[in-house]
Amino acid sequence: MNAYREDFPFFKAHPDIVYFDNAATTQKPATVIQALIDYYSNDNASVHRSTYTLAQQATDQYEQVRTKVANFIGARDANQILFTKGTTEGLNWIAQGVCRHFLQPGDEIVLSVMEHHSNLVVWQQLANTLDLKLRYIKLTDQQTLDLADAQQKITTKTKVLAITGVSNVLGSSNPICKLSKLIHAVNGLLIVDGAQMVPTMPVDVSQLQIDCLAFSGHKLFGPTGIGVLYATPALLDVLPPAEFGGEMIDQVSLTTTSFQPAPYKFEAGTQNVAGVIGLGAAIDYIQTIGMDKIHAEEQMLGQYLAEQLSNITNVSIYGPADRDSGIVAFNVDQLHAHDVATFLDSNQICVRAGTHCAQPLVNMLEVNATLRASLAFYNSFEECDQLVTAIKAAKEFFSYA
C-alpha cells in the first residue's frame, strides 16, 4: 500500500476501495479538512469588508493563499490570481471577455479535438453568436496532438489558442511550450485548461508564457466550489467583470459605478473563503511531496496500468503509448463500458464509464463510451493489479451468458 494513503481520511473510512476516479475529483488530505474545521471554528468572519481584528485575520489568510497560488504556478504577481468556482467558470469568464471585447467577426479561435466540454461549448456558443470561426487541431495516428496540423491551423487570423494541458481521456500532455511559440508568433492569446495538468505536473505560467490558465481546487486535493483563473495584467486590466456586486465596487451612485482594480473587480459578492483557505492547505500538502515527485509517481502508475491492461486480450487502450499521467482510458471488446463499470463497482473499484464530458473526442475514437481509470499519487501498483484481475473476471462473467 501507498504510504500517502495514510494522509487521507477517505481511505481510512474505505480501506478496501480502489479509487480510480481522480480525474473527476480527488480525495482530500486530513490537513485540508482540518483547515476547513479551523476556519469555521475559529476564524470565520467577513473578508475585506469589515474592520475588526477577526475580519482582518480572515482577510489576511485569504490573501495569503492568493500569494501561495501565484508562487505555485509561477505567476509574477498575486494580483494575477482570481478565485473562481472552478475551471468551468474560469474558462467561461475568459472566453466571454476575450470574444466580446477583443475579437471581430471572422477572427479565428483554435481548439483541439480533445477538449473537455468546459473548454469547447462556451467557445462554440460565442462563435455562433459573434460570427467567429472555430478550428480544431486534429490527433495523429498515435492519438497525440498533431503539431503539423497545429502549425497549419494557427495562422495570422488566429486570435486565440485555447487548449487543455492534459487530456482527461487520453491522459497525454500537450506541448504547451511549442504551442506557446506558435500562437505568440501570430500575436494570439494562449489559454490553457489546466484542470488535469495542474494537479499532475509542475506548471510555470511565466516560463511557458501562458496568457490564461484555469484550474479547479477539487481536482487538486482541495475543497469543492473553488478554482483559480490566472491571467496576464494586460488582460485583467481591460477585461470587464463577469459579475457585479459587493466588494468589487469602487463607487456606486444610482446611475453610475466604478470598479476596483483586478483581482477584486472580478470577485463580486462574498467569496468561497473557506474554499480558498482549503485550497491553500492543499497546495501546502502537495508541496511537501513536490510536483516533480507527484508527476513521476503518476506517470509510473499510468504506464504500469496501461501495460498490464494491454496484456489482457481484447482490451483496447486509448492515448499514446508513453503515458504522461495517471489517466488510462480503455474498453473491453464486445462489452459496454457501463456494464464493466458496474461489475468493477461490485468489486469496490471506482472507475468512470461514459464520454467524460468530451463527446467529440470519444466519437472520434469511434466508440459510444470508454472506461477510464485515473490514478493519483496515492494509488498503487497493487491496485492496478486488482483492476486487471477484475477486468479478467468481468470478461468471464459476461461471456458466461
Binding site: H338, D339, T342, Q348, Q359, A401
Partner: protein, 144 residues
Amino acid sequence: MPDLRHLYQTIMLENAQHPQHSGILTGAKVKKITVHNPTCGDELVLSGVIEHSRLISIAQHSEGCIISRASASIMTELVLENSLDQIQVLAAMFVSLINGHNLANQELLQQAMIFSGVGQFPMRTKCALLPWQALVELVEGDKQ
C-alpha cells in the same frame, strides 16, 4: 452491493446478444424516435407504425449497454400489437417496477419482470428506462 447475478440474469444477457425486433422500419406510416443517455453516450432508435390506436409494427436499434439493449428487445416483444392504452399502462408499471414498488398485476409485464433488480443499481435505472421513454414519446402524439 447486491449480487450481480441478480442484475444480469441469463434472459437479459441473451436478449442483449440476440435482440428481438432489431432494425429500423421505413415507410410513410412509420414514426421514428431517437433518444440518448448523455452520461454514457448510448443511443436508441425506436420505430413503429400505429393504426387505429394500436401498435401494429415496431423495431428497435440500440447502441448501448446490456441493460438497455435487453430492455429494448424485451419491450418491443411485449408491446407489439397492444393498444395505446395498454402500452401506457405497461409503461407506467415498468417505471414502478424500476422504482422498486410492488406491482399488483405483475404478470402483465411478462419477461420485463427480470428488470426488477435494476432498482438496486440506481445509476443504471436510466439504461432500463431509455427504451420505454422512447416508446412513450412514440405513442404520445397518437393518443388524444
